[in-house]
Symmetry: C2
Subunit: 292 residues, 2 copies
């Protein structure tokens, strides 16, 4: 987990959503709606929306020297552009990254590509390739970026090493029948709900479907877009939001319960249709959000 001085923290970037801080054994919950500047584990500044009791407690710790401990972020099936793109951004923000694959040599190859991209960035954290099982057990937060066809098999194999961990489902089931990119959701409504039903002991968050992998892979440019996430575990969303806030130009947006994954997975098909027509690499943003 991320640390700032003696405090383990979970900060959520949504207004009026509960924010939680841990000071050793003490847990402080509060309401969130004004900005405060913090530094992350690597000393980079980022903004959080805070007020009241939490802001007061943070004033008390803001002069502490950050520890060097950082969280490790894992990717299951992370050799594709989405996995590599997110790996670039999280490593640039100072988190160690493990890119997982069923094939160890492909994982190492993808990690090497990410390291070449990160040569533009000073102070990037470590990136390594590994088998999916190693990535799962070595990581604090795990992103599931396998193709939908492999999702259930991956969960079957990895559920015990993922149990209790925050898992972010980035999968969009798609079909291309008749040349038209279309959402092809499972009966339950979304891949995210299907995964959560199958492995309820994982701490599921879904999101990041609508980011441009090409933009993620350019570590020195600001993304200027939104990372829309959803889930039923508020604390897990807080942690993921804090992580996403560390990526320059990426604003986490909380779209509610895990059921909202239906619309985010559908939005992937929408964006593919738009990108096909405009020959672009567009992403989805929310205009007029009431923050700050």
């Amino acid at each position: 987990m991320m640390h700032t001085g003696p405090c383990q923290r979970y900060v959520f970037a949504g207004p009026r959503a509960g924010a939680m801080l841990r000071f050793g054994p003490t847990v402080v919950k509060g309401v969130v709606d004004s900005f405060i500047h913090l530094t992350n584990a690597r000393g980079s500044a980022f903004n959080c929306l805070l007020r009241g009791r939490i802001a007061k407690h943070l004033e008390g710790i803001s002069s502490h020297v950050p520890e060097s401990s950082v969280s490790t972020i894992g990717f299951i099936g992370g050799t594709g552009p989405e996995g590599r793109g997110l790996a670039v951004r999280f490593a640039a923000a100072g988190h160690n990254v493990v890119i997982g694959s069923r094939d160890a040599s492909r994982a190492v190859e993808a990690a090497d590509e990410v390291k070449i991209i990160l040569s533009e960035v000073s102070d990037a954290a470590d990136v390594r390739g590994a088998l999916n099982a190693d990535a799962a057990s070595a990581s604090d937060i795990v992103f599931i970026v396998v193709p939908y066809a492999g999702m259930m098999r991956s969960l079957e194999q990895l559920s015990s090493s993922l149990a209790g961990k925050i898992c972010v489902n980035v999968i969009s089931p798609l079909s291309f029948a008749g040349g038209i990119p279309a959402a092809a959701p499972p009966e339950i409504g979304s891949a995210a709900e299907e995964a959560a039903q199958y492995t309820p002991d994982l701490r599921w968050v879904a999101g990041l479907h609508t980011l441009s992998a090409r933009d993620l892979l350019k570590p020195t440019s600001s993304l200027d877009t939104d990372a829309i996430i959803c889930g039923d575990d508020d604390d897990a969303k807080l942690t993921v939001s804090a992580l996403l806030s560390e990526v320059p130009g990426l604003r986490p947006v909380d779209a509610g319960s895990l059921q909202s994954a239906r619309y985010l997975e559908g939005a992937t098909a929408l964006l593919i249709n738009i990108n096909k027509r405009y020959k672009s690499h567009a992403s989805l943003t929310i205009a007029g959000l009431n923050v700050g």
Copy 2:
């Protein structure tokens, strides 16, 4: 239809999409990818993406004095905030508007509200209330903004007066079971596809689901958002895009075939979840679109 000098025109704001112009009996089709300034029927400037043969033809007509003829825009079930909001914007752009309702007095009341809002705007066109059947027969382009529960009954009653006309389906079927706003699409996938299957002789476009009605109702502020539309009738999309381009700060985005309405209707549920959480009136925009 809209006229500029002697030319009836259909201009589409998407890059590389076909654009079509009519000069009396002559139809010119071409490829679109650079900007040109035009004036609409009321003389307001707006941008279109044009090149090649079309741009050349437009140079020839750009000095013509605009005619005073304007198209009439109708709203079926237009007394709610979406209908009134769009009515405000189209009347402000110089198009006569007919707000339809099953109840003539409610339609007149809604039209009066719109006229009060339009008192801030100079040169707004006429707005009147009428029965849905009158709105359908009096209008060149018709927006269907009834609640989903009334959609099929409205189409049954109005299909003969709507036949051959461009109809824009703005309906999102929703449920609020368990307090969670959710998309509740019909078996076929979307309300838009269901409507088009039932009335294939209407020229269907779907879109505008993800605009903020509250923002539409403020005629003097720029919207700064995207009007995402889709449909299988390219010429109908061209006409609707040209109309939308006349609203300040509104960028039409073509999301492909009518099937994409599934994702736009779903995005309504996504936005309601986000707005509930952030107490906002947000809309959806596409970042990184390759235009201009």
